[in-house]
């Protein structure tokens, strides 16, 4: 029997997930000893028709990173779903829609207007990218730009998730090793720690024994001396470690900056942002609604960006937005 076949593919992504695989460095050579990578556009020559020619389920696993923004991406995701026994959503964009999912708060018209007409140095002649004109006057196809960004499991069935923006090398190697071991986790598992980041955070022990109580939330540029020895939340920085899945190695915190939640929620949590928001609300040390509002307005001027930085397309909030077709402000009380 030959080596198991593995594929990797990118949808709407920044390339960071690909770099994360290259960052396996020497370990990547170990991985390629054990598997045949039969499909990896960034690194290997291939043709999509070769994937089409594969038997259904011929690949053991395919890792897909990036969000779904174009119909082509959706079609390829569906093709890969058929050809692989296991589909792994790789990185925050595939997992939860990712940071570019914040574009779901804006309309396509607004984006087009800024980019091609009203931006500061655009030579606006009324021209903008146009698939019709491209086809009729220039003779080739320009894909339509879609205004809504989706996570992978909003398009196809996903077996496992490798979280992170980008996934850290330890997580990537563990995921591959687990898949090859044949000892598979339950379907739908997120292949990282199943506990909150706080449990692995080097500053966890500096949390106050009497429980977290915050009188002031501070934005990172307002903290004069970020104490690298004390829990950042205790210092008033909005750290989402208590509600974010661990496994990343606490890299941001070791860099003296708070967790922004790229590993997403722990098991059983449906809406990351709502959970994060309620956690922060629960530690504010005040009973006075006006004072609470003041503390939150000052420290979290952009609640959607703060709590849904990577997960807006998967949120209940976005579902509501789609229903209402309008941008709403979320209330923080």
């Amino acid at each position: 029997m030959g080596k198991p076949k593995i594929g990797m593919y990118w949808c709407a992504s920044c390339g960071g997930c690909e770099e994360a695989v290259v960052d396996l460095a020497e370990d990547l050579l170990m991985v390629t000893d054990k598997v045949d990578i039969v499909f990896w556009p960034v690194a290997m020559d291939f043709k999509l028709s070769d994937v089409e020619a594969m038997e259904d389920g011929e690949m053991l696993a395919v890792f897909i990173n990036g969000a779904i923004e174009l119909s082509e991406q959706e079609e390829i995701a569906k093709l890969l779903r058929r050809k692989a026994q296991l589909v792994i959503a790789f990185g925050s964009c595939a997992h939860m829609g990712g940071l570019p999912g914040l574009a779901n708060m804006q309309s396509k018209e607004k984006i087009f207007d800024y980019y091609f007409h009203s931006g500061p140095i655009v030579d606006d002649t009324g021209v903008q990218p146009d698939p019709e004109i491209t086809k009729n006057e220039h003779g080739f196809a320009l894909p339509e730009f879609y205004s809504s960004v989706r996570a992978l499991d909003q398009v196809i069935n996903v077996d496992y998730y490798v979280p992170g923006c980008a996934p850290t090398p330890n997580i990537v190697l563990d995921a591959i090793t687990t898949l090859l071991s044949g000892n598979l986790p339950p379907s739908g598992a997120i292949m990282a720690s199943d506990r909150a980041l706080c449990y692995e955070c080097p500053l966890n022990e500096t949390k106050p024994d009497e429980g977290m109580k915050i009188k002031e939330l501070r934005r990172s540029h307002e903290v004069e001396h970020i104490d690298s020895e004390i829990c950042l939340l205790t210092q008033g920085m909005v750290c989402l470690g208590p509600v974010t899945r661990g496994g990343c190695g606490s890299l941001c915190i070791k860099g003296n900056m708070p967790c922004t939640g790229c590993f997403g929620p722990m098991d059983g949590v449906k809406d990351f942002g709502a959970t994060a928001l309620s956690y922060i609300a629960s530690i504010i040390d005040s009973e006075n609604p006006e004072e609470i509002e003041k503390i939150i307005d000052k420290g979290i001027p952009d609640p959607i960006g703060t709590f849904y930085m990577y997960s807006l397309p998967k949120s209940m909030l976005f579902k509501k937005l789609q229903e209402k077709k309008e941008v709403v402000e979320i209330k923080t009380e």
Partner: protein, 492 residues
């Protein structure tokens, strides 16, 4: 009968970029398009975001060059809050930035662009990749490439939080500094980087410059364009990736402009075409006259070739010597040969390594004084760096609470977009005669494109140094007459 040749970088067809070449009735190339079908809207969804998050938000534009966006955004925050970073923070930023330039350029040289020359433009396709490079330079070198890249990126992670999407830059400074103990590791690695860069330059010289055939290709008309050039220089007009003024020279090599990043709106404009989502930057005061060479057209180039053309040299000794040798051999300034970009890139690897070492050794770099606190009300800020692929501008406006009311980003590939399209067209014109396209066109066109290290969806990189491309020759009925491809997938 007009024909269409469609070059699909098939890996990126699915939403990232394609080349279309059109032939007239006689089979001569009439027009070439480089179309980028992606737009993610960062400038618009950044609205209302807290400015201090911009270094983290904009790094997500590109996971290959996240440090470039992170740093341009951080510099824009300094300007936004009218605050200077502390001397230590400034040195740390410049050091880490040079570490980034070193590892990114090294990746390109050994894995992406280099194989064309190290292995050879006419080598069998199966060898024109990183494995071929290892075959040519030895497995030990291959290991060294992996090792030095890992080592540099680990040190970047240690200080900047993450190497892919750093969390480091703050207005007036950085979030984390260096201890004396840590400094030793940075110095040791920097020393290795300098040795490695020298070795890389020597490899380039031995293999490429020692081969007349290669030199002829580099200097051939097919890969030559007479455009303006732009890049950042210090007060002595020497190259600096992290800080300085933007200098522009005309196609004859005379200084045309020198401006601060904050004045970009006076000098640059964006041209829009209906067939691509990328905007073409041009020099406003020259004007847009289409995809053409010459002094009367505002098309300009950025990145290593342009940076060396606009620079009066390097502040580090080894890079300076290489700079002099480069212009001696290529016949003076400016160098218009697109493929000379590879050589220029290797010289920049050497500069980045030397500058990394200089700064790592600086006694001031371990001071704990890494932050100046913003006190002014934020209003408007500009940040400019030289990304590996060219000049990168960030421009923000905020309300007095520091929430974005406008973001404008000019990314490196936009600067080069017009010249890249022209390069593809010219290479195709040189190769396609009477409508005949043979297998050779593929690598020639690829080489014209790859020299720029184009970062299309900000991440268009192919590791084997070969962009899988298919060329489809069609008649005007859309019937397929011929298909040439440079890739195959063999089932075992």
């Amino acid at each position: 009968m007009g024909r269409k040749i469609e070059i699909d970088p098939i890996t990126r067809l699915e939403g990232h970029g394609k080349i279309e070449i059109f032939l007239d009735d006689t089979g001569t190339v009439e027009k070439a398009y480089l179309s980028l079908p992606e737009l993610r809207g960062f400038e618009v969804f950044s609205l209302n975001k807290p400015a201090e998050l911009m270094p983290q938000i904009t790094s997500r534009i590109c996971g290959v060059c996240p440090m470039a966006h992170h740093m341009a955004a951080t510099l824009a925050l300094d300007d936004l809050y009218s605050i200077q970073p502390t001397a230590t923070a400034d040195k740390l930023r410049e050091m880490v930035y040079n570490m980034f330039m070193f590892e990114d350029h090294t990746l390109h040289f050994y894995i992406l662009g280099g194989p064309d020359f190290i292995v050879g433009p006419k080598a069998p396709k199966a060898e024109r990749n990183i494995l071929g490079v290892i075959g040519k330079v030895g497995i030990e070198t291959g290991k060294k490439v992996i090792e030095i890249r890992r080592e540099v990126r680990e040190l970047m992670t240690a200080i900047a939080g993450k190497v892919i999407h750093p969390v480091w830059g703050l207005p007036g400074g950085v979030a984390k500094g260096l201890t004396a103990e840590e400094q030793k590791k940075y110095i040791a690695t920097a020393e290795k980087c300098v040795e490695f860069a020298k070795f890389t330059l020597q490899t380039f010289k031995d293999i490429v410059l020692g081969n007349k055939e290669y030199v002829d290709i580099i200097t051939s008309e097919m890969y030559t364009h007479h455009t303006y050039y732009m890049g950042m220089v210090d007060e002595k007009n020497k190259t600096n990736f992290y800080r300085g003024k933007i200098r522009v020279i005309d196609p004859e090599g005379k200084e045309f402009l020198k401006f601060s990043g904050k004045d970009y709106q006076e000098h640059l404009a964006e041209h829009v075409e209906p067939w691509t989502y990328v905007k073409f930057l041009y020099l406003k005061n020259v004007g847009w006259n289409g995809f053409k060479d010459g002094k009367d057209n505002g098309v300009y180039a950025v990145a290593p070739l342009a940076r060396l053309n606009v620079s009066e040299g390097f502040s580090t000794p080894e890079a300076q010597a290489s700079y002099e040798e480069y212009f001696d051999i290529l016949g003076g300034k400016p160098v218009h040969h697109t493929l000379a970009t590879h050589w220029a890139r290797v010289i920049e690897i050497l500069y980045a390594a030397e500058r990394f070492l200089q700064l790592a050794k600086d006694p001031g770099i371990i001071s704990p004084d890494i932050r100046n606190m913003p006190v002014e009300k934020p209003d408007e800020g500009f940040g400019v760096v030289e990304a590996p692929r060219g000049t990168l501008f960030h421009h923000y406006k905020t309300d007095e609470n520091g929430l974005l009311t406008q973001a404008n980003l000019l990314v490196a590939t936009q600067n080069n977009a017009a010249r890249v399209a022209m390069s593809i067209e010219k290479a195709a014109k040189g190769l396609i005669k009477n409508g005949m396209a043979d297998d050779g066109i593929l690598n020639m066109v690829e080489m014209a494109l790859r020299a720029y290290d184009p970062c299309h969806a900000c991440g268009t990189h192919t590791l084997p140094g070969q962009m899988p491309i298919s060329i489809k020759v069609r008649n005007n009925q859309g019937e397929l007459l011929d298909e040439i491809k440079n890739f195959c997938y063999e089932k075992k």
